[in-house]
């Protein structure tokens, strides 16, 4: 005899404003099997949980239904409360009357009716629930960080500091990422390299960190605590453990026309190169598309000059297979392509540059040695115009609908640095809004305007063109309501940033969800900001959303603490809601094996006693540790042998019937 209790939560006014909770309670009381029903303002609160615990004991409930928010929010809370009162936690069902009902409806009558239906369906299901027991799985005490920029480095350092092994997989030949390309950092104007390179060195020196550079994640299997990852280490054609980083090969290489990626293509580099002087590892790499030896078989100069004998033209991609307990995504960003905006003449005028290009021009290790020179003729500019929001907050399809968050501050930084170093240069900034929320951020921007006399113009630029050897900028000043035409020697575009294009591929392998802009989705935007909804996958840096360095470092620390929390555990509780095959019904067709995304199904041939008929049959076998309970096998099984514990076909049909009747 089932004794079901129904608990209806108001969620303050979140549910109660659109659903007549008393009516739902009254309806619950007359459902077959229901012996107790009550509503309460906040069922998830301690008092609310006590109502549930007391009712379970007092009314000897065998199952409960909580009509509340999404099970993703509080299913665990209510299961824990049930367990504390002696009820099997899998005898708890959640009717989602908030996200699926009150939040999306306005009409109270209709909302109440829908809440009733959802409650009845949950009651029908819980009547068929059976107690389940969660199993255990192991935790591999090693973490993987994908991406070796400041986000990945900081995450790895923090995890390593707690005593766990971490691997950083970086697709480029060096770690450092975007931050290594920056000249100064806001709001303190300290040199980016000066604060980043010690961290890079620390990562290299750490006993707990292994750097796998020039490598990409190829395959990911397994699940939280027990991921199996295949990493492709691309052929460098230079032996990493032999190369001393002397740079002689770079000087001798005759193929010097490669675009220097580190300098945003503003100058050239040889086919064999070390990305920048502080690269880690400080080891050369050969660009195989550019190398004369690799393409024609002739040359081999670098091999001849290398005193360390580090060059190996026969090197092949290698594969590393490793197990990890947790994976952190730190895949970072890139600026969008500014040539999509014809009106700014980026692709036709050399003196129109992006902000990241200006970073390289301003940097002492950049193509001009840190001297501000016009790219077209190498002359000193006398007027520089900045255009903000190039492709940000743009829903026209050419740009990105979001605010890139960092541009207002780096533009103020650039403007200030130019005015500080070259007081003869006029600097104008066209802005839509100046957004400076952050500690000492607004003060920084005001300093640019007040102390450094940067001319901030409220309005956008409509067109940039070349005339008589200089640029002409036509913009608008909305405050004075005038169209402005300025002559400029350089125009700097604060281009929007977008997730690195590898993010989508990596997210797919990790089954981490991704939003319409290819940013990785958090498990909860406020309360679980560094976790992916996929267990064991964590987020660090711009792959989750635009952010500056201070915020990235904070988030990296947060992601690391979540990873440490996971790796500290010896065992994880597994989800008991996994697939189960009825061997008497199974016909051994292999359909389930083919659709299983986790490789959890295998086949076994053994003697079966089918109602007295003994015969040897080939039947499906589910590995409960691998099964994630997705249910794909139950759908394809033609004989109805496959069923999902906690979500059996019978239970689902009972729910459907309760809704339809």
């Amino acid at each position: 005899m089932r004794r079901i209790g129904v608990f209806v939560c108001w969620c303050g006014s979140n549910i109660a404003a659109t659903v007549d909770v008393a009516a739902v309670v009254a309806d619950a009381k007359v459902q077959p099997g229901v012996v107790f029903a009550q509503d309460y303002q906040y069922m998830c609160s301690e008092a609310g949980q006590n109502i549930i615990k007391d009712a379970i004991k007092e009314h000897q409930l065998t199952g409960i239904v909580v009509c509340s928010c999404s099970p993703r929010m509080h299913e665990a809370t209510f299961r824990k409360a049930a367990a504390a009162a002696g009820l099997n936690p899998y005898m708890v069902e959640i009717a989602n009357v908030r996200e699926h009902c009150s939040w999306i409806h306005k009409d109270k009558e209709a909302g109440t009716e829908k809440a009733r239906v959802l409650m009845r369906a949950a009651v029908a299901k819980v009547m068929l629930n059976v107690p389940l027991k969660a199993g255990e799985s192991r935790v591999v005490k090693r973490a993987l960080v994908i991406g070796g920029g400041i986000a990945g480095i900081q995450t790895a350092l923090d995890i390593a500091d707690a005593g766990f092994q971490v691997d950083i997989v970086e697709k480029n030949a060096t770690i450092g990422g975007r931050m290594a390309q920056l000249d100064k950092t806001f709001p303190t104007l300290d040199c980016s390299s000066c604060i980043l390179t010690p961290k890079m060195v620390e990562a290299k020196a750490s006993e707990n960190i292994r750097l796998i550079t020039y490598a990409e994640v190829e395959e990911v299997g397994g699940f939280v605590g027990d991921f199996k990852v295949k990493i492709r280490k691309k052929a460098r054609f230079v032996k990493e453990d032999v190369c001393t980083g002397c740079g002689l090969c770079m000087a001798k290489c005759p193929s010097k026309k490669g675009l220097n990626e580190f300098n945003m293509g503003l100058n050239n580099r040889p086919a064999i190169y070390i990305p920048f002087a502080q690269a880690i590892p400080n080891v050369a790499v050969i660009d195989k598309t550019q190398c004369i030896k690799l393409n024609t078989g002739k040359c081999g100069l670098c091999e001849k000059v290398c005193t360390a004998k580090a060059i190996d033209y026969t090197m092949q991609d290698e594969f590393i297979e490793e197990e990890y307990g947790a994976i952190v995504m730190a895949t970072g960003f890139r600026p969008i392509d500014a040539s999509k905006f014809d009106e700014y003449s980026y692709s036709t005028c050399k003196d129109v540059v992006t902000s990241l290009e200006l970073e390289r021009i301003m940097n002492a290790a950049g193509p001009t040695g840190g001297v501000l020179l016009r790219p077209s003729d190498g002359k000193h500019p006398h007027s520089v115009v900045f255009v903000q929001c190039v492709g940000s907050r743009d829903v026209s399809g050419r740009g990105k609908p979001y605010c890139s968050k960092i541009c207002c501050m780096y533009t103020a930084k650039h403007a200030m640095l130019i005015r500080d170093k070259y007081p003869d240069v006029d600097v104008h900034v066209f802005y839509i809004d100046v957004r400076t929320p952050g500690k000492n951020f607004d003060e920084f921007y005001r300093r640019a305007a007040e102390q450094y006399d940067v001319d901030y113009i409220k309005g956008q630029v409509g067109k940039v063109w070349e005339e008589d050897g200089h640029l002409v900028v036509r913009g608008v000043d909305l405050i004075s309501n005038e169209q402005v035409i300025l002559n400029a020697d350089m125009v700097v575009l604060a281009t929007a940033i977008e997730p690195d294009p590898t993010a989508r591929k990596v997210a797919n392998m990790l089954t981490a969800s991704i939003d319409t802009n290819d940013f990785i989705t958090e498990a909860h935007p406020k309360l679980r900001p560094v976790e992916s909804p996929t267990a064991g996958i964590f987020l660090s840096g711009v792959c989750q959303g635009p952010k500056d360095i201070p915020e990235t470092v904070s988030q990296a620390g947060a992601a690391a603490s979540k990873v440490i929390g996971l790796l500290c555990k010896d065992k994880l509780t597994t989800n008991p809601c996994v697939a189960r095959s009825d061997e008497l019904l199974c016909n051994g067709c292999s359909c389930c094996e083919k659709v299983c995304p986790y490789g959890a199904i295998s086949y076994d041939t053994h003697l079966i006693n089918d109602h007295g008929v003994k015969e040897t049959r080939r039947v499906a076998l589910v590995n409960e540790a691998l099964c994630q309970g997705c249910g794909a096998c139950t759908v394809v099984c033609p004989s109805g042998a496959m069923d999902l514990k906690g979500f059996s076909n019978k239970q689902i049909m009972a729910e459907v019937e309760a809704i339809c009747l």
Binding site: E343, R393, S396, I432, Q460, G462, V476, L478, Q483
Partner: protein
Amino acid sequence: MRLPEAEIAAVVKQISGSDVKKCMKCGKCSATCPAYGEMRFHPHQFVTMVARGRVDELLKDETVARCLSCFACVERCPRGVEPANVVAAIRVIAEREQGGSNFVPDEVPGLIEADGEIPQQALVSAFRRYRK
């Protein structure tokens, strides 16, 4: 009887098909406008004033005819607001209120010869609407 100003503004929004609320006030339309100096009100002002229901001033302004209908503002607006369509809607309503077209086809050659009186592109855009 003339409709109240707010209702005319609603008509402008409807026939222009432009969602003026999408405007984020960046001014790129006016930064782009090649007829900026020719017109009393500028593209961003058309959008803002229509959003606020203030269309009477726009309807009274004769320089509205100077919009070239080049659609550069439509092309470059990052929010898809289509300011030129708002200007065109104002022009249509102004013409309706005056009880007919300002352009009589037979007079057009004379207007072109007058050189500079009316921008050629404005004539082209007018004919686009008057074609039978």
